[in-house]
């Protein structure tokens, strides 16, 4: 069955450093891989989407890489700030056509200390 794994342990980093989060997946060939932010008690917020034919995508302080051979994505937040503290979710999909659902990882909790 399809499986998505993210760093299970919480990540604690110092303000100003780069946070790197990992998403690994098996038994799946997504057309897209997405990253979302989730704060406690709130809905996921879309951050970045990367397509299977793209290696890297950037948006402001965020960078995502996608290696379909390794079946892995790395998510980087540079110059991290305490406001970046949240849970970051990796989601695979859609695969195309009418199959537009997202399959989710459990998320990695990030704490940025001032």
């Amino acid at each position: 069955s399809q499986k998505i794994e993210q760093n299970s342990e919480a990540l604690n980093i110092q303000e100003g450093k780069t946070a790197t989060l990992t998403c690994n997946y098996t038994n799946y060939s997504p057309a897209y891989l997405q990253w979302y932010r989730q704060d406690p008690g709130r809905g996921p917020v879309f951050l970045l989407l990367i397509r299977e034919n793209e290696k890297e995508k950037r948006k402001e302080r965020l960078k995502v890489t996608f290696d379909t051979t390794l079946k892995q994505s790395l998510f980087h937040i540079t110059a991290s700030q305490p406001a970046d503290s949240a849970t970051y979710l990796c989601a695979l999909g859609p695969t195309g056509g009418n199959n537009r659902k997202l399959i989710w990882g459990l998320g990695t909790s990030l704490a940025v200390n001032p």
Binding site: A31, Y32, Q34, G41, R42, G43, P44, V45, F46, L49, L89, A91, G93, P94, N98, N99, R100, K101, L102, I103, W104, G105, L106, G107
Partner: protein, 112 residues
């Protein structure tokens, strides 16, 4: 960024009762989705809805669940006979184009 509102924000119900969760997208869109998230667990896909029809559903979305768009605007999720294990956050999401999905704030359902 498109806006999605959900009502109620918190619903408490007795086991066996019916609940209706509502989603109101602010602008036009193509796809609606319902997801749920049990406390401390992954977000789980329930159902997608396109052109006033279910386009895909998960194994969680059994006969106890139904979706409707009763007035062309609101999008509802109905659970006919709630169970304790239905307690979760329920999120509505929409897509404009591409793959990105935009989520509402969620409804916390507590089944006693």
């Amino acid at each position: 960024e498109p806006e999605v509102t959900q009502t109620p924000s918190h619903q408490v119900t007795q086991m066996g009762q019916e609940v209706i969760l509502r989603c109101v997208p602010i602008s036009n869109h193509l796809y609606f989705y319902w997801y749920r998230q049990i406390l401390g667990q992954k977000v789980e896909f329930l159902v997608s809805f396109y052109n006033n029809e279910i386009s895909e559903k998960s194994e969680i979305f059994d006969d106890q669940f139904s979706v409707e768009r009763p007035d062309g605007s609101n999008f509802t999720l109905k659970i006919r006979s709630t169970k304790l294990e239905d307690s979760a956050m329920y999120f509505c999401a929409i897509t404009f184009f591409g793959g990105a999905q935009f989520f509402g704030p969620g409804t916390r359902l507590t089944v006693l």
